[in-house]
């Protein structure tokens, strides 16, 4: 893996993010290129909408604008084993069905507000270890949320605008006053 390849891959992620909205819902094929996961355009849109619900555009950029949705697909396609990928697909189906049941329409047809209400409840349940219902749905949700958070907190935007990641600190202060830390 050289630097050029890394940059090219990054450009692919960012580039396709910009193109996405106009090509969706075309013949049911997903836009994102996947090696292992088999999904259709509706399912792709659902995941895109879910990442945007978890990490919406506010006065700062959201998942779609930062290409986090594509990162989530890339991670689940490349870095999870077959078992997790099967749970992802099954859980995605359960998520879509549950949304329809609760909201009377598909997740993709919902308003942002309706999606937020629905996902908030799932988010609360996902932290409850005793939560027995819909285990695949929760597994799916956790994968998407984990990778949304990971992709966001390791994104160029987050690491340059929200925090300052230092490739070259150039210092080690063994005694650093907490007061100064809070002020940084």
């Amino acid at each position: 893996m050289n630097r050029r390849v890394a940059i090219r891959n990054m450009a692919l992620i960012l580039g396709s993010a910009a193109v996405l909205p106009s090509c969706l819902n075309d013949k049911g094929k997903p836009v994102v290129q996947l090696k292992h996961l088999k999904i259709d355009a509706d399912q792709e849109t659902l995941v895109n909408n879910l990442t945007e619900t978890i990490l919406p555009k506010t006065d700062t950029p959201g998942a779609g604008e930062l290409g986090i949705n594509l990162f989530v697909f890339k991670m689940i396609d490349d870095c999870y084993d077959k078992e997790h990928q099967q749970d992802f697909i099954a859980g995605l189906g359960d998520f879509a069905a549950e949304a329809k049941k609760q909201l009377g329409k598909s997740f993709n047809e919902c308003t942002a507000k309706e999606r937020t209400t629905f996902v908030s409840a799932i988010d609360k349940n996902s932290k409850d270890e005793k939560y027995k219902d819909n285990t695949k749905l929760i597994a799916f949700y956790r994968m998407v949320k984990d990778q949304t958070v990971f992709g966001y907190t390791t994104s160029k935007y987050f690491m340059t605008k929200q925090i300052v990641y230092e490739l070259v600190p150039g210092r080690y202060n063994a005694y650093f006053p907490v007061k100064k830390h809070a002020a940084v």
Binding site: C79, M159, L167, Y172
Partner: protein, 571 residues
């Protein structure tokens, strides 16, 4: 045609051949070429040039396709090397993949390897502690292995010699069991590391927690600048190769230094099949190499041969170097070749919390990693029901308690929280293991590697002494943590296979008696005086210090001896 052949032989003839370009081979190359000797360095892997061949060194996390995580198929294809902590998306290209060099595990053994110029010196944890006579006298005092043929006084000047060039940071702590060296300024202990250090000093006799000594240029001297290296910038991304040459690697230091002399030929893709022994001359005359790309066999010749292929591969080469005189491997009159292999036991850890020093945290990153506790068990006298002892790492840290709770703006706010956690402390054991005849490596009778060389069979395991020592580490650390006022103390042990410590040693051990050892006090084969082995294979016992610094000192001393012998016409 005849002339062509003569020229070809001449082109393939050197004063010295060094097998391996890593931690110790790099030193052999530097020392020979410093003295003007024409030296061939054989590297089985590809060439990795300092700076030029560190493709990930300046990448930000978001510039990696998976932000640092290795794809599942890479992890699944490499169950062995994937267990190594440094095998990530930023450094996987410096590790041998499992399928590239197969071996037979009679017992589970994680053989972690780096086949390229610089070898594992690109990837090491950079901890550098001297041995003392408490270590060299260990086998004789405690009645295991054989007596080391050298003592601290033999190696002390060579420690100084290599430390000055490599650049070692540390404090002069004045501890007899961990002698001081030629130090650059230490990376200091933080508030809680200092607290624990003071507590241990006050409460226990002969126990110390010191700044870990490491091969980082905390303040470079002219000799380091002359190598083209600069000050460590506290990146702690060392496994990618350092753009500043801030830590010692063969790539940043000894190998370019040797090449600059004009006397060094570095030949990558050169897998050494065997060392050639001439029965009439009674010595080795050269090595047989398989070109890794063409699979062609080529012979190179020299007056003296240094074997620095990394501990187990040095064993493999000698085992595969058979002749009428040495049917069981070169220099193996004693029958000990491949036996008495040992390692370091890293399989216990302990973590806790400390509710104090709340006004302090740290800023930046510590390349030394924190504190180091030299061995305190069975040092001055035998005091436990097991032999020898362990060193321990010790570090304290706080982190920003951002959380990933909630969704939407709540989540965004939670992810940038700056609340600091309390102090957490952690330690891991580094235990000495006892070399035994039953812990061995041997050649497989039928299986071959991709170059037609027999595969290595590895049969190395823990024993009862290791279990007792592990238990003692947990007990002693728990007691020290408790008396220091640490809370929520959690000890854990794991069942990692030997090898994952990446401190495998022995098989070609040193000793005074040719009947029970392979190498003399100058690291020469007792029975073939122009072949030297100065890497981990030569270790008679392991003690518990990180071994690389000792290999470097051994190598510089052995080359000095070899050059002396060459001048006297003895080789």
């Amino acid at each position: 045609m005849a002339n062509l052949n003569i020229d070809s032989v001449k082109d393939r003839t050197f004063d010295a051949i060094v097998i391996g370009s890593g931690m110790s081979g790099g030193w052999a190359a530097k020392e020979f070429t410093d003295k003007g000797l024409k030296t061939l360095v054989l590297e089985r892997g590809r060439d990795v040039k300092h700076l030029k061949d560190y493709p990930t060194t300046n990448l930000y996390p978001w510039e990696f396709p998976h932000h640092g995580v290795l794809p599942d198929d890479v992890q699944k294809a490499n169950p062995i090397v994937n267990r190594c902590y440094a095998f990530g998306e930023d450094a996987a290209h410096f590790f041998v993949k499992d399928a590239e060099h197969p071996y037979v595990q009679e017992k589970p053994f994680d053989w972690i390897r780096g086949y390229q110029t610089g070898g594992k010196s690109l990837l090491w944890a950079r901890q550098t502690q001297r041995w003392s006579d408490f270590d060299f006298e260990g086998p004789a005092r405690d009645g295991f292995a054989v007596d080391w043929p050298i003592r601290y006084a033999d190696i002390a000047p060579w420690y100084s010699y290599v430390e000055k060039f490599a650049g070692i940071s540390g404090n002069r702590d004045g501890i007899p069991e961990l002698p001081d060296g030629e130090f650059l300024p230490a990376f200091p202990l933080n508030a809680v590391e200092t607290f624990f250090s003071n507590h241990v000093k006050k409460t226990y006799k002969n126990r110390h927690v010191i700044s870990a000594r490491c091969a980082h240029l905390s303040k470079p001297n002219q000799i380091h600048l002359d190598q083209g290296r600069g000050q460590c910038q506290e990146r702690t991304l060392c496994q990618r190769g350092c753009p500043f040459g801030g830590y010692f690697s063969a790539n940043s230091s000894t190998i370019p230094w040797a090449l600059k002399s004009g006397h060094c030929t570095l030949r990558p893709y050169s897998v050494v099949e065997s060392i050639i022994y001439d029965e009439k001359k009674g010595k080795a005359t050269g090595v047989r190499v398989i070109d890794a790309n063409t699979k062609e066999a080529i012979e190179y010749y020299a007056d003296v041969i240094f074997v620095n292929a990394a501990a187990l591969n040095s064993n493999l080469i000698l085992l595969n170097s058979t002749s009428g005189r040495f049917p069981n491997g070169l220099g193996n009159d004693s029958g000990t070749l491949g036996k008495y292999v040992a390692f370091h036991n890293y399989s216990a850890h302990i973590n806790a919390e400390y509710d104090g020093a709340k006004e302090w945290t740290t800023d930046g990153r510590n390349p030394a990693g924190g504190g180091y506790m030299p061995r305190f068990r069975n040092v001055y006298k035998q005091e436990t029901n097991f032999l020898r002892g362990y060193a321990a790492g010790f570090s304290a840290y706080r982190w920003q308690q951002n959380s990933s709770d909630g969704i939407g703006q709540d989540l965004k706010n939670n992810l940038v929280k700056k609340d600091l956690s309390g102090w957490h402390v952690g330690s891991h054991m580094m235990g000495e293991t006892i070399p035994k005849e039953t812990n061995y490596v041997a050649l497989d009778k039928s299986l071959k590697d991709p170059f037609g060389i027999p595969q290595l069979r590895i049969s190395v395991d823990y024993d009862d002494n290791d279990e007792k020592m592990k238990k003692d580490y947990v007990e002693q650390m728990t007691e020290m943590f408790t008396s220091a006022g640490f809370t929520n103390i959690q000890a854990s042990t794991d069942h990692r296979a030997p090898g994952l410590d990446i401190h495998e040693m022995g098989g070609v051990r040193m000793g005074n008696d040719p009947k029970t050892s392979m190498l003399d006090k100058w690291h020469r084969l007792h029975a073939c005086k122009n072949v030297y082995v100065t890497d981990g294979a030569s270790m008679t016992s392991t003690s518990c210090q990180n071994p690389s610094l000792t290999y470097m000192a051994f190598t510089a001393r052995a080359v000095d001896h070899a050059i002396g012998e060459m001048k006297k016409g003895n080789v």
